[in-house]
């Protein structure tokens, strides 16, 4: 039934290529099927003004989509002179998700910026970005620990994200572009290694949904994130 022939609870192939670029303290190219996102983690020994002198760090994210990552070329945000509402919404979500698993006191007065740039888009770019950002963050923190700059590991647990939606009346996991653009409802779930929820968002697109549907989406998300956690482990060991 799914355009890709996948089972309703089947993720696309997850690929994680750590150390994809050489300058960043952490970097990764993550793929959920044809969706590919390059994430770099940059460590800077300073914090934003509102945190100065408070003895704690900060984790933030920026998101971008290359103009021709998509089926038809989109305009370049740098040329237009502003980031779209969608871009800002996504980068705020990525930042919140990673801050949910970072102990800012242990990080100390430094900032880690996660740049998530979509090289190729086929649905689920924000969830791939969050999942990849955890790997880039993990690699950057490993670097800091190896340099003796951290007394203890500030990463408290894993975080991963996946989209789920109602497609032709059926809850399905990890929507690709064909499904995403025709879904009745879709959601993004950010889950933690301990099974808890960092963020749940589900939006009615062409049809509204009920509580039972919300729960079924959440359960699919658990299946997907379990698989992502395993891929994150393999990439960072």
């Amino acid at each position: 039934m799914r355009p890709s022939g996948r089972a309703p609870d089947q993720m696309r192939a997850i690929t994680i290529e750590p150390h994809f670029t050489r300058h960043a303290e952490g970097s990764v190219l993550i793929g959920f099927g044809d969706t590919r996102v390059l994430v770099t983690a940059s460590v800077e020994e300073r914090v934003p003004p509102f945190l100065r002198g408070k003895g704690q760090g900060w984790v933030t994210a920026e998101y971008g989509m290359l103009p021709r990552a998509t089926h038809t070329r989109g305009s370049r945000e740098a040329a237009k002179g502003k980031q779209s509402g969608r871009t800002q919404e996504i980068q705020r979500l990525i930042g919140r998700s990673l801050r949910a698993v970072t102990d800012m006191k242990l990080l100390g007065e430094r900032q880690i910026t996660l740049d998530c740039d979509v090289i190729q888009a086929d649905g689920g770019t924000r969830t791939a970005a969050i999942s990849g950002a955890w790997v880039a963050l993990r690699l950057a923190v490993n670097t800091l620990m190896a340099q003796g700059k951290l007394a203890a590991d500030p990463i408290t647990q894993k975080v991963a994200a996946v989209s789920c939606g109602i497609y032709q009346g059926q809850p399905v996991l990890d929507l690709d572009y064909d499904e995403d653009s025709n879904a009745d409802a879709d959601g993004n779930f950010v889950l933690l290694g301990n099974g808890n929820i960092a963020e749940a968002q589900a939006t009615a697109e062409h049809a509204n949904y009920d509580e039972e549907a919300l729960l079924r989406l959440l359960r699919l998300a658990r299946i997907g994130c379990t698989e992502i956690f395993a891929a994150q482990d393999r990439a960072t060991q």
Copy 2:
């Protein structure tokens, strides 16, 4: 336990003052306690470029916060020259919520813009805005119908929104500013008159949460929205 002395499932006083301004086709001043949002619905006999000639209408929203709606003065977005990510995220949510209850074919080739301006903020501005926007939309559509411009009512049902969160370990309904700024988790739920969900969002702030908590927040939201639906009915009859 709540700073305001409210019970966990108790809404703040809901006040809805329809026809608050005179030029707009629909207008309302809505209050959730000390939060007060002015919403106007403006009808324009044109649609955005991507819809031209398709025989359907559009509903969109803009959101703003007066600089001194808050405890300390914020900078004016018009003077800074851009809308914050938060503003854009909220106005996208308001627009989606109202589109979920509008039949665009029945609306015809016209656009209704819902301007939501926060006069005074004490938590829950986006949910008050959505709830008030439905009233303004209802009034504007009533005007169009009275003018004979619509063959049938394009509003398919009611929509309302409320925030819920985990405050000091306890799920509570309709967070005010004191609660919102200290909540472990908070969420915004956009519910429909038929009991279905248009949008559910729940974010871990200081502590992540589990599936049971998500459900409890949703159930509180149902209590709150039932009360808002009643207030909407009173204001539009």
Copy 3:
């Protein structure tokens, strides 16, 4: 002869509702007939860079018009990314007018910002804003004095403003929108409690005018401001 049936030297009803919002140090909703402007006065314990360390304060103003304050919806300046020339011209006038009655040495190293937001427009928004801003400033200074932060009252006198114009060949006081959009000439006069002039501006629109006409407009302005001063007194006692 006037569309409203008023006599040439008759003001519209002046309404002043002090303490309209609760967070600002001073706030007021002022009405000149159907024109309604919300003014808040915000005290900040810092001054702009050009005044730092000079032992004096500053008073400034910002002005905005809600998109549907007017007959047809205007675009939101925050969304367009810049303030219009008209907006900037008006907020500069408001700031100058209030600075004309403030002793900056007595105010000390703090800034008071007057935010003037037009809720509903029917002509004369800038003059209502100035007249209301004095009330908001008065209330904010009263608060500072009650807190013992000021050794002496920095407000030297009252200030009020009103528009006058030549409508169908006749000088009239306090133009509403119907008159304003058809006036041969119109002007804005900012007068002080001692009878002096802080600012006089008169512009030929459809017909130019002579010195005698300028004097007649000024004399009408004196009549209007006398009435506004009385309303300011009632609102701040």
Copy 4:
């Protein structure tokens, strides 16, 4: 008493060099003493969108100050990415002043843009700009008439402007920078060839002023504009 040694009712030397540049339909370099403004009039065979198809023309103005026209270098507005409130206020004033003497029906469906760029500033740049803009407009209209594009002369009369102010308690004409930066009050008067007023603006700076002072400033302005009218005549004959 005046820093320049001038009598209170004495203008600075007025210099008008027509045809200063060769591409514009009209161009002039005007000087009021050390203040020098280059004004060009550009004719375009189109009107702004709000006037299309109405059988009438438009006159508008833009104003700029070269970064080092002033004693200390100011930042370049093109580099900052926006025009200051002062710039916009001035260019709106120039446009209004020239429209006051143009019959838009006789001009036909074309736009004349007056670009006023300050090469060197010593007070009174906006009044020199208005006075010079009339000459540039006159030259451009002469060109159109010589080309047979106009059936009748759309310029109805002359317009000129000059600043006046209260300096050390004394009303003086045509303030230079030293006077302008220390004046108790200053004003700009835009007068017509028939003796009427197009615009009068007078602002209290360090001291407010009374009706008698306003009249004395206006009378000085008449003296100055008479001299400017004569210079305009010489430059355009």
Copy 5:
């Protein structure tokens, strides 16, 4: 003598990976050593306004650098709201270079946009971008020809670019970052398959240079471009 141990006339390894992404009509990941640039060619069946109805096409380019392509993180141009002067200068150079080898009449009324995004930077990003852009353009035109949309091949010949400079007194080919940041002079040469020059630019950095040096840089550029042409051939056959 060179930090990399290369001979003065030795290029870094050239890697060209065609079809790197799947949506674009042409795409390539090109590497000059550690410099890696992703170039996509997007075909749109429309031309810019200045070319409409003229029966010819257009080729243009945009350039961007991912924030952490470099040793230390740079700010994101989309977030800053404008493209730097350097970015604009580079994308203008890329566009000119590719237009120099395209017959716009044969291309017909369509536009090809070359998006050049630097994934990793180690000197020579603009020359790698030009060299890769030719491959992406070649692939996109091949697609159009296979679709029968072009009567004849609009690409007239190959184009490649390489940087050369004076490093420690010695002319060297294809500067990497270590060399580039310490060169006495450096230049970028855009050469055509027929041996002619599309663009030559050479700038004194720490020391100016003479005509003989300019010629030696140009001769090194010929050596480098010969190698790049061969790599372009291999990638497009």
Copy 6:
């Protein structure tokens, strides 16, 4: 053969009017035929952030074109809110050229900004700007030396620039607008008093060119710059 009747190696008349404005430390109006550029040099006793505390100075440039400097009116960059890519490219070139002849240690911790504003354009505005900027810089440094602020002269030699191109198959010197808009190739050469090259740029426009053509353009540039150097000497003695 040239539209102006000039010989291939003939410059237009070079006019240099020093001290054109009075506030700037150095100022000049330079003309290459009908091209006229006003250049001012402004000294500020501070350096950009990246140089603070390093005991050296900085020279930078800004470039602008008055809207009606050209045949048809261009839009004002300050009104559009951004500088074009062309403007930025030119001002970067001017800054580099002047820095090539300034010893930053001898200049000390101060910045000199060269504002180059095109009053009238007829081709070659950037090369006239560079040639005039040297004069303005020379005058400003003379002022600093006369004030005893400099221990030694930081200007190491002269710099001048001229454009050359291939017009109707023939290399020609100092292109005017008619030639520039139809040239097969054109270039800008920035030469030093000692005969060396600060910058060479040559671009194929309608036809690409070979190494011999590049050398012929460079030799024409030497002829032109020799003449400009002489004019610079006359203007600064």
